[in-house]
Symmetry: C2
Subunit: 468 residues, 2 copies
């Protein structure tokens, strides 16, 4: 946690010591309290009875309540009684609008699911209205559960950006590019052109929304096209995201087509020399993990989706042991079936213990870091969010610990990982804006969110029933 | 689902057709509705717009709303708008009062956890007050989340029974027996004697609470003692429960001590010929699963605990394929860290897909059956609870589906497994008693539950800190 500059304390002390003198406290927009503050800075533990001062959407200081109150004054205090205050969660890989396909088709093979449900339904229904309604619904769920930053990969990113601008979410928006026909596109050329145009022209004065390139995967985009998008990313400096080494079927295709693994294949294309956000990363081998450790790649672990689609268990403990910043993501709700980062946290903590036979791996503190500090580094926003630190943007959440479900409380970090969940989140603040308070999302109209989703879902349901 | 006797419909039709005639409807205690009714009977799907008539704590009829209303009248109607109505969940293995150790120690080896935390703390603190406070806290959490039946294995079962009597939970209470010193006992002789006394003398006129034998495990109880407890169970007809083939370390001990596996060892003692409730069952081999399929044993799958303690992944899909009724359980909250059956449902649906590489196994419908119908069979209560069927006890729950988290709704069973959770449960009914309504537990005083837990937790916390 950042230590307050000593001179400030000295000044405050001097002024406090002189009765009748005007206070030297600095006015801030907001002070947010927490009986338990997790800055999530490396090596930090739990700060009891702490507070964070926020001004102009930035964290000005973090420290013990008494110190913060000695330094700063505000008209807006957010109580921290019985609450944890921590950085907002970072969902490193999702397809937000796909929440409209949640529960449409489950418990089937990846091929059956994609070819008979997802692709046909996307072809029929994914348009601007779909993305608007889906992004709204996703936004409500994510803000409600304490997610403050997402890496989104879906069609019509400009429409999604409008929604995120309104609802207050921080997002990296990847324009999807693929060699096959997809909603709005006939194949690579027009999807790449649209993506380039989006990245070049998208502007968000707040800096909260960032346009990015999102080639689908190394098995669905040719090497030439991947070289082109990498060059475009380098030229613009925009983030680059892709599905990497997700499933056994992908690995099989790569082997047959390129006689190679996905990671080695994209390494040969130079993609490991760029800060690639690499979703899934289920099947890197030992040497490839060493390559990743030397690279700028940020792998994103999606445990729920990887189980549900039978992709497998990513070697996350091994990647962490090599010093790789691994983030966490929900993937789309069509393969999850929700956008709840607390479930990803819980699953990440549990499944690797079960798989390895070692109950000491993936301890609570590590998994919380994956959802915050490491996640921010993995997506290239390590200097912007991910910890409660002076100078970072004020993205933070409060959870309340008063439910009998959370009693007794011996260890806050343990509870956050093994017991708490989105229902316990009561406050969500992004860029210093309180987008959720007392468990109520303020930046979206709940009834409209549901109604707009219903309009889309009714069409999808009718199509599903027509095909039965 | 049970079909209403035709003659009743005919009578109702005749009486309705005669204006001025007194209605022939049968008065019942309660009619509970559901826009979506899951009877969970074998082969049944989702009944839209259904209802259940309840009298004297028993299910009198299940059917379409119109049919039920034509047959029965009541002063107490429980609305089913936007709700799922289904059987209450069956937690086939737990140590309820251990909820007071929730989050006390995590992310360590089983031996470290048991020897340095659980056993010493149990030795110091587990007494009647501890069990009363712990069972209360557990009861609140379980009723809140829609669990209506538990198989409990913990010390002072008479005290726990008092709590369950008050809070309304259905429970099989296993008296713990072990060859080593344990709370209240010096070893086998007195723990066995106390257990026998409990089973012989415990009376519950309601039939909702059942006394049982609970030898700890085949690696902690000698073959002679297991024979004795099996004989006692047979003599009394009481249920018998035990941890079976849970962890690699158990398997190692069994191999070294008996040159055998756990299942073969207890088969040799005759324990497979009794309806043994076999908690965990992580390590049966193929032949042993065939033996289990021929036996009366009910394995209970505890996926969260098995991951957290690094016990491994139980071969549940294989057991189900052999026709074994596998139930679900939370284990104690000390190794979970909650008593949320919805998480067990979700984990059971997900982890086996991830492990096997087959996304079609453990489909939603199957896992819901494990938590209800199959679970009731596994614990010997298949004729009493587990489905909404005429003649069974009225143990049922309602979940409300109005949260944006649950939109859109294409498939109720998918949502129950992959999205819904304890927070969505709004009604819990056991033996026809409404123990939770509108999400509020009525049979327990929430403030007292928390306060009593706090008294115990403060002592434990002080002891933990003294040892640091």
């Amino acid at each position: 946690m950042s230590v307050l500059p000593i001179f400030r304390s000295v000044i405050a002390f001097v002024f406090f010591s002189l009765p009748g003198t005007a206070l030297a406290k600095e006015a801030v927009d907001m002070i947010v309290y927490g009986d338990y503050v997790l800055t999530m800075e490396k090596g930090a533990g739990v700060l009891n009875n702490g507070a964070v001062a926020v001004k102009d959407g930035t964290i000005l200081a973090v420290g013990p309540r008494a110190d913060i109150e000695a330094e700063f004054k505000t008209k807006k205090k957010v109580s921290g009684t019985d609450k944890v205050l921590m950085p907002g969660l970072i969902n490193g890989h999702t397809h937000a609008a796909m929440v409209l396909f949640r529960g449409m088709a489950d418990d089937m093979t990846l091929i059956d699911w994609l070819q008979n449900y997802i692709f046909p339904m996307e072809g029929k229904f994914v348009d601007k209205d779909f993305v608007r309604a889906g992004a709204q619904l996703a936004c409500w769920e994510m803000l409600r559960g304490g997610t403050t930053t997402i890496v989104d990969m879906y069609f019509y990113p400009r429409i999604a950006a409008q929604v995120y601008k309104t609802c207050g979410l921080r997002a990296i928006l990847g324009a999807p590019m693929i060699d096959y026909p997809s909603p709005g596109f006939t194949g690579w050329d027009d999807s790449f052109a649209a993506g380039e145009e989006f990245v070049q022209n998208f502007k968000d004065p707040s800096g909260r929304l960032i346009a990015a390139f999102a080639p689908h995967g190394a098995y669905t985009v040719s090497p030439e096209h991947l070289r082109a998008v990498l060059a475009a990313a380098k030229a613009s400096g925009a983030p680059l995201m892709m599905h990497v080494a997700e499933s056994p079927s992908e690995m099989q295709v790569m082997k047959e087509r390129y006689h190679n693994t996905t990671v080695r294949h994209i390494a040969g294309l130079g993609m490991l020399d760029y800060p690639l956000i690499a979703a899934h990363m289920v099947w890197p081998d030992e040497d490839e993990m060493d390559m990743l450790a030397m690279s700028q790649v940020g792998p994103i672990h999606n445990p729920t989706s990887n189980m549900k689609t039978a992709a497998g268990f990513s070697p996350v403990p091994q990647m962490l042991a090599k010093g790789i910043n691994v983030g966490l993501g929900t993937d789309g709700a069509a393969s999850n079936n929700d956008l709840d980062m607390w479930e990803e946290i819980r699953h990440a903590a549990l499944i690797h213990k079960g798989k390895s036979g070692d109950a000491t791996i993936m301890p609570a503190k590590t998994v919380l870091a994956m959802a915050t500090r490491m996640g921010s580094a993995a997506i290239g926003l390590g200097d912007v969010v991910g910890t409660l630190s002076t100078g970072k943007r004020a993205d933070m959440i409060q959870l309340i610990l008063t439910s009998p479900r959370l009693a007794p409380l011996y260890d806050v970090e343990s509870h956050l990982v093994y017991v708490a969940g989105s229902r316990d989140v009561v406050t969500t603040i992004i860029d210093g804006q309180m987008v959720m308070r007392n468990g109520k999302v303020r930046s979206l109209d709940r009834a409209k969110v549901i109604q707009d989703a219903k309009v889309q879902a009714d069409k999808i349901r009718a199509a599903l029933e027509a095909e039965k």
